[in-house]
């Protein structure tokens, strides 16, 4: 039906997801050791048949490619787990196939999450050759005691060495720190942050430690352990300090926990926050794909064995659900208010009907929690600190 396809392609141009672009997320579910705070879908496995995994990824890429034919791919993100444990051949094969399946943007951003171990860094050069052009490294702390307490298997020296190698291989390098740790004082954090800024290139992710249920930390916390975590007041002060110090270095928070020089933001992550489309491939990987005008939420089987065997049989998807207008409005609000430009209230209404109560907005504006400029609603720095409460106020229900 040629007529029809012309129509739908014109429609596609104005489709909602295009506000955010299109990215691909590849999840590698293995790590050398499981960190006690981590609730990502990560597993420690003695033997990994890299070839078999590569084949599974390739076939999933084909499958998803068929659903999203002709879309221009802006970004690829290898996340984990520890993708820096993928063999360069696997990464290579994947990226080759990606380029075959989707037309790529001129300057695609291809990120790989790396851990600062020697095994990991050994592959950097080959990753770069395969097309990876950005690395996000999990350094987590710049003092060895805290690294141990976080259960990390590398030292600060390891991390610095790995970071130097990465800088040589890749144009863009970012790293992650976890702060608001046990027994961390405001001044200790400030010193560490300043040290980090002196290392950083143009991007930093600074996460306050979250004690997640179901992790080793979570269990310890519930059992009354894990003492010395900062209270709300101290962690609020730490957050504020982080904003101030990073601001001095022109590394503003373009998202709650992500700081970058202008233009150096992670484009892939911005797709999430701008509520664009992304395909998720790999165990437990989530995707949001607009197909035939409907936004689907997809998720793969989490257990690596289950995922790979189902992927080999043709589809690793555990669940694919069409999101209602309300779901989409909720997700857009939840994600969009995290970034500095906030959300587009008009776009919010295009999901269905008007969802956000103007009185609520006015109330939050008067409390100094949000700003409203025309159709844009964004959280202020005060609002960011209590963003959950702000979102909760605005979140449409039913």
């Amino acid at each position: 039906m040629p007529m029809r396809s012309e129509n739908s392609s014109r429609l596609a141009l104005t489709e909602d997801w295009q506000h955010g672009g299109f990215g691909l997320y590849i999840h590698w579910p293995f790590c050398a050791a499981k960190c006690p705070y981590c609730d990502f879908n990560s597993h420690v496995s003695r033997q990994i048949d890299q070839d078999r995994w590569a084949r599974a990824y390739l076939s999933e890429i084909e499958r998803v490619g068929a659903l999203t034919k002709g879309r221009v791919l802006n970004t690829v993100f290898f996340g984990g787990g520890t993708p820096s444990l993928m063999s360069p051949d696997t990464v290579h094969a994947i990226l080759d196939r990606v380029r075959r399946v989707w037309p790529m943007a001129n300057d695609p951003e291809i990120t790989l999450e790396a851990n600062p171990g020697s095994v990991d860094t050994a592959n950097f050069e080959a990753y770069a050759q395969a097309g990876v052009n950005r690395v996000s490294m999990g350094i987590q702390a710049l003092n060895d005691t805290d690294l141990r307490r976080l259960g990390r298997i590398h030292s600060v020296a390891d991390a610095r060495a790995a970071f130097d190698i990465a800088r040589k291989q890749f144009d863009r390098v970012s790293f992650d720190l976890i702060y608001a740790r046990q027994d961390q004082s405001l001044s200790a954090w400030e010193a560490e942050l300043r040290a980090a800024l002196s290392m950083a290139v143009d991007h930093l992710s600074l996460y306050q430690l979250t004690v997640e249920n179901g992790t080793a930390f979570g269990d310890r916390f519930l059992a009354g352990g894990l003492r010395g975590l900062p209270d709300d007041d101290l962690s609020a002060d730490m957050y504020q300090l982080t904003q101030d110090v990073c601001g001095e270095h022109d590394m503003f928070a373009y998202e709650v926990s992500n700081h970058a020089r202008a233009g150096a933001e992670s484009r892939h992550n911005r797709i999430y926050w701008q509520y664009g489309d992304y395909a998720g491939i790999g165990p437990g990987a989530h995707g949001r794909l607009t197909i035939n005008g409907q936004k689907l939420a997809t998720v793969g089987w989490s257990m690596p064995d289950k995922w790979i065997s189902t992927a080999e049989r043709g589809d690793g998807t555990k669940d694919s659900t069409a999101l209602s207008a309300l779901d989409q409005a909720q997700e857009y609000l939840l994600l969009g208010l995290r970034i500095s430009e906030g959300i587009d209230l008009d776009r919010l209404t295009t999901f269905g009907r008007t969802y956000v109560d103007d009185n609520k907005i006015d109330e939050l504006v008067s409390l100094g929690m949000v700003t409203r400029r025309g159709n844009r609603l964004a959280a202020t720095s005060r609002g960011r600190l209590v963003l959950n409460a702000v979102i909760e106020e605005l979140m449409p229900l039913e």
Binding site: Y25, Y239, L364, L367
Partner: protein
């Protein structure tokens, strides 16, 4: 308990004369004569504590054969019984006569002139006298104890050791079937179970046990259960000893004319001190504990001795007559979603049968019985229930409200003439408003309240409207636990989120113009200038406490405006009696008592009456807006203290908002206490990427839905539980 000793010797001639004049004419009397092997009569009158009805016992345990001779007749030879009746005596009931004749079978020619002391109990008498009847193989009893002393666990063991349920179906506190009971580990509703026990004497007995609740709020359940049975197992925790509820239960049991078997439980625990506790039982309660059963309901030690004691020491039912018109006691009724109203009955006379058309004597309702059964503990249908038996019936009764506990059930036609005395109705003492969080739930709530009221006669409700809370109900409860139970059930079983307003007792307001108001709700308090004076309900509280905590208990009572009435010692424990305002007790007195005495004190109370005091209405303002649902009546002298305590509590109970919130207590516009709830500082998710959206969204949705459980007052969300919790005082 009237067990050994203290029997007044009586002359046989006096007895026979007495029998002739009084007892033989009354149903349920049991005069007989006993001859010992030596040919002597023994005649006893057991000492009866404070009761004016003498029971005369003349027993002949050696009588073997049934000979048709009357034992009531003053004729020393006895006379041949030739029913229908003896010309002079109304002994024309076959059953009655049967046992009488046993007794007079071996009667000697001449009664001896001498009188003797003896040691038989009413129970022993009844057992012997009822030997020839079916009744002799029935024992009806309640299990009573202070809270947590192990009643339900003992019931478990009795059920289990008689193989009433299979091992697979057995679970702890089997009878506590309601979710709330299982969760809190307490019994709320009394439960009846019929078990069969093959005793050491080779006979099989039917035991109907009633497991009762221990909490003081449900004392009414205990007393009415006792009315349906003849004996009680008094369970006493051998590590804790006699507690306030133990005493209260003994008094109720004595009132109900019960035979009491003391059972010392938890002897498996190292801290158990059975000898000391036995002494204590004798000292404090004044009943013989020398033959108390020593058991562990948990491990099963001593359970056989309890079963034997039930058979040997508890009396069989008072003899009833299956041929007389039906007379049954309505013990309890509950609503079953499948069967409708299920009525628990105790048959006195006559026989309950399927298809019978019955009449409730007090309410006048008539119904056709469609099911008859017994609890084992699952419902099991039986053909009929005869005198002395306990079971259930269903009869297409629509609402529990149509039944009244204590009512007499008889047949519509040829029914019995006199009704049973009935029970005093239970009266609610604590009131509060219940409102749906979501106004749209009001209709559902009305249905739910009706259904619960169907099941629970001691719970009252009437419609109420409030400016801030909309439509709801003003409800009355037996106590705070009862309130919590009903609220929990509404929320859980009927899925309605509720706001509970500050509980209140009933105040009597005497107006200047001479009129009088019963105030159930502080929000309805008239303008103080129109009031002459206010009276509040007072109670008599009995507290048992080990010496070392006495000071703390006295301080607590004093702080709660108590007036000491009595202080006595029983061993190393003090028994303190206080006159206290009910409103100082209903909310958290019991919790406080437990905490200041590390759980070693126990508590029981009775209503005393109303007394005038200097009472005022205290308002609470949250973010400068008065919250009516938090208004309470307080004593003027304690208002500042209570106001401060409430403001502090609310500061903890109300979640932080994005702005700071002043919380104030005021009397008639004058602020007497103030707190400020600081603004929320930090609440943000550190990491949120593509995959997290789903999870984080659910989390926020849940939180927001959780907020729905709060009610907005102005701009402030107040959680439902705040209204009760705010009243609980920590000091």
């Amino acid at each position: 308990m009237r067990s050994t000793g203290d029997f007044e010797p009586l002359d046989i001639r006096q007895i026979l004369q007495f029998v002739h004049q009084h007892i033989a004419h009354r149903r349920g009397s049991r005069p007989v004569a006993q001859r010992q092997q030596h040919g002597l009569y023994r005649v006893f009158r057991p000492h009866q504590q404070g009761r004016d009805r003498p029971v005369i016992i003349v027993v002949d345990p050696t009588a073997q054969a049934l000979t048709p001779r009357c034992g009531l007749c003053p004729d020393p030879e006895g006379h041949a019984l030739n029913p229908p009746h003896h010309p002079r005596l109304p002994c024309n009931f076959p059953r009655h006569v049967a046992f009488l004749s046993v007794v007079c079978a071996a009667r000697p020619a001449k009664p001896p002139a001498a009188t003797y002391r003896a040691t038989l109990t009413v129970a022993a008498f009844r057992i012997i006298s009822a030997r020839m009847t079916k009744l002799s193989h029935i024992r009806n009893f309640s299990i009573v104890a202070h809270i947590d002393h192990g009643k339900s666990t003992l019931a478990d063991r009795l059920i289990q050791s008689t193989n009433t349920v299979s091992a697979r179906e057995m679970k702890e506190q089997l009878l506590d079937a309601m979710d709330i009971e299982r969760e809190r580990g307490i019994t709320i509703k009394a439960n009846t179970v019929r078990i069969e026990y093959k005793a050491e004497d080779g006979e099989t007995y039917i035991l109907n046990l009633i497991d009762t609740p221990g909490h003081v709020d449900f004392a009414y359940e205990v007393s009415r259960s006792m009315r349906a049975v003849e004996g009680s197992l008094l369970v006493v925790d051998a590590t804790q000893g006699v507690e306030a509820q133990t005493l209260a239960n003994v008094y109720t049991a004595i009132d109900a004319d019960h035979e009491i078997v003391p059972v010392l439980n938890k002897i498996d625990l190292p801290a158990a001190e059975p000898e000391r506790i036995c002494e204590q039982i004798e000292d404090v309660i004044g009943i013989d504990a020398s033959d108390a059963c020593l058991i562990s309901a948990k491990t099963g030690i001593g359970i056989p001795s309890v079963l034997e004691a039930i058979v040997k020491r508890l009396p069989p039912p008072h003899e009833g007559d299956p041929d007389k018109p039906l007379k049954a006691m309505l013990v309890d009724s509950k609503y079953d979603p499948y069967l409708g109203v299920v009525v628990i009955v105790r048959v006195i006379d006559g026989v309950l049968k399927k298809g019978q058309r019955i009449k409730m004597m007090r309410t006048g309702g008539t119904y056709d019985i469609d099911r008859i059964g017994v609890y084992r503990p699952a419902m099991q249908e039986v053909k009929e229930l005869g005198p002395g038996e306990i079971g259930y019936i269903t009869a297409q009764i629509k609402q529990v409200r149509d039944t009244r506990v204590g009512d007499t059930i008889t047949t519509e036609k040829k029914g019995c003439e006199t009704a049973l005395p009935g029970f005093k109705p239970s009266i609610p003492v604590v009131f509060c408003g219940l409102f749906p969080v979501d106004a749209a739930d009001f209709e559902d709530m009305r249905d739910a309240i009706e259904k619960l009221a169907l099941n629970d006669a001691s719970f009252t409700s009437e419609m109420e409207t409030s400016a801030a809370l909309g439509f709801g109900f003003r409800c009355g409860f037996l106590g705070l636990l009862h309130l919590e139970v009903i609220r929990d059930r509404l929320e859980r079983e009927y899925n309605i989120d509720l706001i509970t307003t500050a509980p209140s007792v009933i105040y009597r307001i005497y107006m200047r113009d001479g009129s009088e108001i019963e105030l159930h709700n502080p929000a309805d308090m008239p303008d103080p200038s129109t009031i002459d004076h206010i009276e509040e309900p007072r109670i008599k509280a009995t507290i048992l406490v080990p010496d070392e905590y006495l000071g703390d208990v006295l301080k607590l009572c004093q702080d709660r405006r108590g007036i000491q009435l009595d202080l006595t010692y029983a061993g190393s424990r003090a028994m303190v009696v206080y006159d206290l305002p009910l409103n100082e007790v209903v909310f958290d007195f019991y919790d406080r008592l437990k905490s200041v005495t590390k759980g070693y004190a126990s508590f029981d109370y009775q209503m005393l009456g109303y007394r005038e005091d200097n009472l005022v209405k205290m308002q609470i303002l949250v973010n400068d807006e008065p919250v009516d649902a938090l208004s309470t009546m307080v004593h003027r002298d304690r208002a500042e203290m209570r106001g401060r305590a409430m403001c502090e509590k609310l500061k903890d109970l109300i979640p932080r908002h994005m702005f700071k919130i002043p919380i104030q207590a005021a009397i008639g516009g004058k602020v007497i206490a103030r707190e400020t709830l600081a603004a929320l500082r930090k609440d943000v998710t550190a990491k949120c990427y593509g995959g997290d959206a789903t999870r984080k969204k659910k989390l926020l949705e849940k939180q927001k839905a959780g907020k729905k459980k709060m009610r907005q007052f102005g701009k402030v969300d107040i959680p439902q539980e705040a209204f009760i919790s705010a009243l609980k005082m920590d000091g």
